[in-house]
Symmetry: C2
Subunit: 313 residues, 2 copies
């Protein structure tokens, strides 16, 4: 086991980079821009260069480095290959082997939501748990499943794609994935606004939400905390759908801890309490007390999880 490792999290505009001790101490973090020009062909060379620069700057030796883990916004199979990553303008790319070739270090690649789950299970809100379900509520709904301390990437790299769990067979509007009734259509920031607008339309009652110029998930959650009736109605609907979905995930993998991350989770404990109420209603009896907690690593979850992937046990 080396002393150091790198955790890299590639996003659409910036690449987050972390140098870690293998005990999980974050030594330094920094960012470089994501250059998506030329079909993103410069992204991995840029990552390799910043790693080499950091090794030189710190006077490290390769013998002392367990490797480089990298998270990608797209499906990643067990070999560290990406069939395509739309936001990076990539078609097929053998990410792990290419990064290993470019750096001369062992490399592993994972999906960005999956590595965030691994990060939270390693040093975040679910620290020490071997089995974790993470759901991230952002523009969309992502997720990651950790079983026995390892990412469940799945046969098609779709492990943890829980935002596309179908929660309503009668939904008329389409999800971005083409299906109808995905969790993401209700529990993402966009989904919460969509549900709120439906409830505002169906009701005659006044609500502080009617006075928002651009209704946002944050506005709905703030009004929910303030006790606005239609905001409460909205979040009860969202909580019912999300808590119910988490209960289903629980009877599949029965996690020790369920972690809720993403921008929407900034609403904190009132959101968690709302989800937990419905989770308990629908969960299999022996899973009813599984704790649901807010993610704690924020935007650093990805670099932590990426680093964790390459640490030898």
């Amino acid at each position: 086991m080396g002393l150091y490792c790198f955790g890299i999290d590639v996003g659409g505009t910036t690449v987050k980079c972390g140098l870690f001790l293998t005990d999980g101490t974050l030594v330094e973090k920094w960012e470089i821009p994501t250059r998506i020009e030329n079909n993103g062909s410069e992204i991995l060379p840029d990552v390799a260069q910043t790693i080499k620069d950091k090794i030189q700057e710190r006077g490290l030796t390769k013998d002392n480095i367990d490797g480089v883990g990298i998270g990608i916004p797209g499906p990643v199979n067990d070999k560290g290959e990406v069939p395509m990553a739309v936001n990076l303008h990539w078609g097929f790319k053998a990410v792990a082997s290419e990064l290993s070739f470019l750096t001369g270090l062992p490399a592993k690649a994972g999906n960005d939501a999956n590595i965030a789950a691994l990060g939270e299970a390693w040093k975040g809100a679910a620290e020490g748990a071997k089995n974790v379900v993470l759901v991230t509520l952002g523009t969309g709904v992502g997720g990651g499943i950790i079983v026995d301390g390892k990412i469940v990437s799945g046969h098609h790299g779709a492990g943890g794609e829980v935002g596309h769990a179908n929660v309503n067979h009668s939904e008329i509007e389409a999800c971005n994935c083409g299906n109808h009734g995905c969790l993401e259509q209700y529990a993402s920031a966009t989904g919460i606004v969509r549900v709120a607008n439906q409830i505002l339309e169906e009701s005659q009652e006044d609500s502080s939400l009617r006075h928002c110029r651009n209704l946002s998930a944050k506005a709905v959650l703030d009004a929910y905390k303030a006790g606005d009736k239609l905001a409460v109605h909205t979040m009860e609907k969202v909580g019912d759908v999300l808590g119910g979905a988490l209960a289903v995930f629980s009877c599949v993998v029965d996690p020790e801890t369920i972690v809720v991350g993403g921008g929407v989770s900034k609403a904190g404990q009132p959101l968690i309490d709302c989800i937990t109420k419905f989770y308990k209603k629908y969960a299999f009896p022996s899973c009813k007390n599984t704790p649901i907690v807010c993610a704690s690593l924020g935007n650093d979850a990805g670099i932590y999880g990426a680093a964790r992937m390459v640490i030898k046990d």
Copy 2:
């Protein structure tokens, strides 16, 4: 790696026993009665005795035996402990360590549905697949999840309890588990009859099902295959619920193969086709072509999976 191992599957009335070569060849199988008197205190000693007898009868040596795997109808944690198994009249029992003590062999214990999944993934309908979802449609609905070739037992031993995935938040009738709207209430043999009776009540149309004295799932499926309109209506409802649930499980663990077992699966390909139609409708795009197949090991799935647990890789 030894040459032999034992696979044991404890049911409420009989204990199925198998002697295997570690390459998966079933050398011999036999049964002993399950003696549930005295709080089932004789069950493990009986199992140990039949194993010792078989070792002597065949002139085997312990050095040549990898161990004994045993399946139990109840939750089993990672240590091979059972908090309770109602059908065996057991409270807490440290099954693996007790069986190891009694036989002098390494022992592992697993839940009966989970070991059936492992059996099907090893030598059955999903042979060779590393990631498998098994759902068994019997009196109830059970299941097992295999990830990376291993059983997902879960934090409370509730991994694979997919029969209690909530599929209908508006259900009024209660499931045996106390919740309302579990998959089991629609897709078990009992559930199929329940759905059929509801549809018969709501409709004025004639149906061959109206002439059954004791309506059974088999009668519904036979009528479905014969094109009876209300039986088709029933199975479309069941397929919608079950296919939809399998699609949700797929976006959690993304299996290579989905296996359908249990008594109801004897209906064969027409049932599989019905489930697959709805699965494809609701599944995440990259999982839409995941094959759904009938279990192939029948009642032997448990002894295969139990044996597989103790084979050293």
